[in-house]
Subunit: 658 residues, 2 copies
């Protein structure tokens, strides 16, 4: 197979790539950070690269670009004069010779910021793995001769009352030497009072566990001290599966259509987790043992598709009717069987999934928020690329999922991006002047107060929710989302296609060299996303005979930054007293931590996941009608009395009609 030299700037990464590969495959192979929201399907237009040199051998300026496949009509739709010269979509351009490429800042995915934080967990500490210190008598010839394992088990039984223990084979092979190294004193890690998964010489107090929340976009990992329940370190990363598809369906498609695609995505995630484990344990004050091997237990949550891909289960059947998962209940899998770099004899505890698209992450939300103990009728919204809803109380509880689309994560938005440095995350618009102020991730102050460069790069989900809500309150859009034409502000203008747009940041405030604007289409995308959540909740209420929710919990990595008043303004969920709306942060991650620290929580997860009623709402006949109505921004006081009151109090420019 012929290979070509490829260089990516500004990172300087270079290597040899096979003839015919796309530039996005080249970027993946060489580890280049390149945005690819649609997973290489040519529909997002985010993976623009500039071709700086299309040749290496000869200095013929006319043959420039000839080392790539010809530009396609699909590409032409996305490439604008403003992008500059020699721009190609990396997913479409195929390699037929040596090339040198430049990745513009807009196309760089960016290092994900750690924003998922764990709530203080208040469950009793009763982890699945516990450490026991054991002092053995030295054997002598005179005593009845018995094996090291049998003497150890007898001692544990005598001292701690644990009977019928087994020992992992890989632990057994080291037992004799560990016992003698510790001079007949050892520390034993026992899983679920039944299996010895680690032996260490001498007395070891610290016992580490790992809780992981794999989101479609972000993976968060929490290193916990199992003896105290303390979260001692937190790390996160972009889900390494993102290059194979930004959303769940595109990854399922990748698994279906690409030879070895499932294995590739599984390995990418596991390699990424092992990197995370390395970072979490580096220099951790733990007897100088290789970090990952100190971790004796692990829990993990994810949606159903990520769950299947992580486990190497074909996700195809959950993508096709009747949407059958391979397994629903919780699983305990030996870390070594999955090449996960924690103590190799330990288990990875995979929380149960609920159904089709409602996964273990929502079970995490369930056990973290415990709606099954509540009297009040609560609506819990876990916001992500898939929205997952829980509704009910201790009498009855249902779940559903709705395809929110990636708008809340900044995709399908013209200047959308993930919550990374440079992203506009908070916006206010003066109802009179229509002038905005905004905050950028990585800067403390509002943009107007920043000394030096603002360096806005795009706008992330919470910023989009804010700006659209504020545009509504400032009369820039009406209840149908349509932009007003004749406002007295240069911020609202027409783009080169003649469509209206709102300028949120002028080019000079950005690091990308162009104005950051909100297009009419962006407003529409957000309306679609919020309508999906609203419709899901509304139909659930109808099916369950619930007229009014008494409490709303907004969860998700996203949920910790969402501004609940903006969300209410947009009508993202049915009306509720703002005092009873809570943003709880990453409840799925909290659930994973609780399951790590508490066996009761594991049992609760198993039980609650099975008792939950799953509602399939997309097949409901009134779905379409409800959805279209929900596209509107709230305006009827009988439906949204609390929103009406809120808007009135805030001095909104919009008359709220009764």
């Amino acid at each position: 197979m012929r290979k070509h030299k490829v260089i990516f700037q500004p990172s300087g990464r270079r290597g040899e790539v096979e003839e015919g590969k796309s530039l996005i495959e080249a970027a993946q192979q060489l580890g280049v950070d390149l945005e690819s929201i649609c997973g290489g399907k040519g529909t997002c237009g985010k993976c623009k690269v500039r071709v700086d040199e299309g040749y290496f051998e000869k200095d013929n300026i006319d043959s420039r670009m000839t080392n790539l496949s010809p530009i396609t009509d699909g590409e032409k739709k996305f490439i604008k004069p403003a992008d500059g010269e020699n721009i190609r979509l990396a997913c479409a351009a195929e390699l037929h010779g040596d090339v040198k490429l430049f990745v513009p800042e807009k196309s760089r995915a960016g290092k994900q910021i750690v924003r998922k934080t764990a709530r203080k967990v208040t469950v009793p500490i009763e982890p699945a793995v516990r450490k026991y210190f054991v002092e053995l008598e030295k054997p002598t010839l005179e005593k009845t001769i018995v094996g090291d394992l049998e003497r150890l088990k007898a001692e544990i039984e005598a001292e701690y009352g644990l009977t019928g223990l087994s020992m992992d084979y890989a632990v057994l092979t080291g037992l004799q030497d560990v016992i003698r190294e510790g001079d007949w004193k050892i520390t034993v890690s026992i899983w679920m009072d039944s299996e010895i998964v680690k032996v260490e010489p001498g007395f070891v107090e610290s016992s580490l566990g790992l809780a992981v929340d794999v989101g479609t976009t972000t993976v968060a990992a929490y290193l916990c001290e199992l003896t105290t329940g303390e979260v001692v370190r937190t790390e996160s990363m972009m889900n390494p599966q993102v290059p194979y598809g930004e959303d769940v369906m595109s990854r399922i498609t990748y698994a279906m259509m690409t030879e070895g695609g499932l294995e590739t995505m599984q390995k990418a995630l596991i390699d990424g987790l092992n990197d995370l484990i390395g970072r979490l344990t580096a220099n951790y004050e733990m007897d100088a043992k290789p970090g990952g091997q100190s971790i004796v237990d692990m829990t993990i949550v994810f949606n159903t598709a990520m769950h299947h891909i992580f486990l190497g289960l074909n996700p195809v059947y959950i993508g096709l009717a009747p949407f059958i998962p391979a397994v629903q209940n919780d699983l305990n899998i030996k870390a070594r069987d999955m090449d996960i770099g924690i103590n190799h004899a330990s288990y990875v505890h995979v929380l149960p999934i609920e159904a089709g698209f409602v996964g273990a992450d929502n079970v995490g939300v369930l056990i973290a928020e415990e709606p099954y103990r509540m009297k009040e009728k609560v609506l819990i919204i876990d916001i992500g690329t898939n929205g997952e809803l829980l509704l009910g109380n201790k009498e009855h509880l249902s779940s559903t999922s709705c395809a929110t689309g990636p708008a809340f994560e900044g995709a399908q938005i013209k200047f959308g991006m993930r919550a990374a440095p440079g992203a506009i995350e908070k916006v206010k618009i003066d109802p009179q002047t229509r002038e905005p102020v905004y905050k950028v991730i990585g800067k403390e102050e509002w943009h107007t107060e920043i000394k030096g460069d603002i360096e806005a790069k795009g706008i992330c989900g919470s910023g989009i929710i804010d700006v659209v809500a504020e545009m509504f309150k400032a009369g820039i859009i009406d209840k149908s989302g349509r932009m007003a034409k004749d406002l007295d502000t240069e911020r609202v203008r027409r783009d080169h296609d003649g469509k209206l747009e709102y300028v949120l940041a002028w080019a000079k405030e950005t690091s990308i060299g162009t104005d950051i604007t909100i297009a009419q289409a962006d407003v529409r995308a957000l309306q679609l996303a919020k309508a999906a959540l609203y419709t899901g909740a509304k139909l659930m209420m109808k099916k369950m005979g619930i007229a009014k929710v008494e409490k709303v919990i907004l969860a998700g990595a996203f949920g910790s930054y969402i501004h609940k008043k903006s969300a209410m303004t947009l009508g993202m969920f049915p009306d509720c007293d703002p005092e009873k709306v809570y943003a709880v942060g990453n409840a799925a991650g909290d659930g994973a931590i609780m399951a790590l620290l508490s066996r009761t929580k594991r049992l609760e997860a198993r039980k609650q996941a099975r008792e939950l009623e799953y509602l399939e709402i997309a097949v409901e006949p009134e779905f379409e009608k409800e959805f279209i109505q929900a596209m509107h921004i709230p305006h009827m006081k009988d439906k949204f009395p609390h929103v009406k009151k809120m808007l009135e109090e805030s001095g909104s420019a919009v008359p709220v009609k009764g």
Copy 2:
């Protein structure tokens, strides 16, 4: 590191070997079949090779041999003029240049003949792994959506009443596809009514299991149909650990002294087992699936040292006082954790060991012969390089081991060899003429009736027992084992050192070009071995207050060929009615098969191994005295009335004194 070219003839194997390695290491590296009974310690003199060319580059005949280290005094003791020119011991000669070597026939180990056969097993068929055929309902959207695994488990529970099942992770990853490939009909293999270890599309009736007996010298493997209990195929091989030491202690030493020695021996055995599995399953009529993967269960027995080495447990501690094994009870280990090429989710069931040197093989003997059900006081002798003894009845049962030495396996005997083609295995001597007749393995007739070449190559254990017993009966040796000087036969003569020897086969009857003789030292070696067994039995009887054994069972691969009258003539065990002496063949292998076919037998093994009393007899004060007495060949009628009667009836030339 410098390397040298090495060629072995007549096999023609060649390769590059590191400077300073011994020729025996070169032979191991290149896979050359070379006898090494002492494990390379320079004490057996069996590894003679002829150096045909000591150089390759230059044609200087005077520099011959200079490419090897100088000949040692130790070598000189073993190398006789009759061996020919340029003979070296492969264990002593070290490589310092290119060499071409010839391995004389006497030095070739030979392919082991399969002599271990399984008794007809009469235990009820209740294997640990059973197959179940399951027909699943096709899932629909309307039904409550549940996972494939959950629906499968529900169906198994409904149809077969098995609850609380788990599924091996590696099986789970294939479940969905197998279910759909079988059009919702599958066959499930379940281990111990608790774990699904295999799923196959459609209906599969055959269920294969493997029972293995790892002897110090020979490994026997039995492929069984678990549904019928039938042994469908048997294969054996030389233990691939033999090159690292012929006996248990030399292998323990190898593990202690050689970097990576334990892993090397473990891998050698497992690789060998995988070869055996390949041979057992080749072309077996099983749905054309890769053979080893059809095997869903496995049992294995061995002595304690082989047990530890197989499991990768450091055997050092069982070689040193107080002789502590790592583990005694039975183990179930995932085949994939040990790289054993059966169904990777299945378990290898390792039978329990008893103590120090009494291993799982003796537990196999125990459950195969069931002395714990007998009224009669029975002595069971498992003959091998280590002798293992069981004594007692259902009231009380004890075990011990005694270092028999390798004489019964043909080592430490001048013309000794293993039971392979060309070995003299049966001998009769005319008491008047002192002329022998013998049978050679691989030929049907006595040697005097063979048309064509006899091609005797050496003498194996049963032949040695026969010939020494017959020499005694013919008056060639006396009760002390000393050879008679002045007999009227050319068969008894002096060797070149002036020592007496008996010529069993003339050079013209052999394929090795020299007479095959029984030296005085050979008689002594046999006396030592039989004295060890006898003393062990006698001291056990004394300790247990048993005056007379009512039954003797001779077990061992060896046991199936031993001629019980010869064994009795030599006084290998305390006197017993010959009608009550049985040779049962490989009882250890039988036990492994029974444990494969019957869960009851597994429980019986666990229970009986623990209830057995282990007697340490080597530390008894009277051991030495008893042992020296036992060196004699029986002659006192009060001690051996049955032997006396037997000899009288057979018309022995020896007057049996009262």
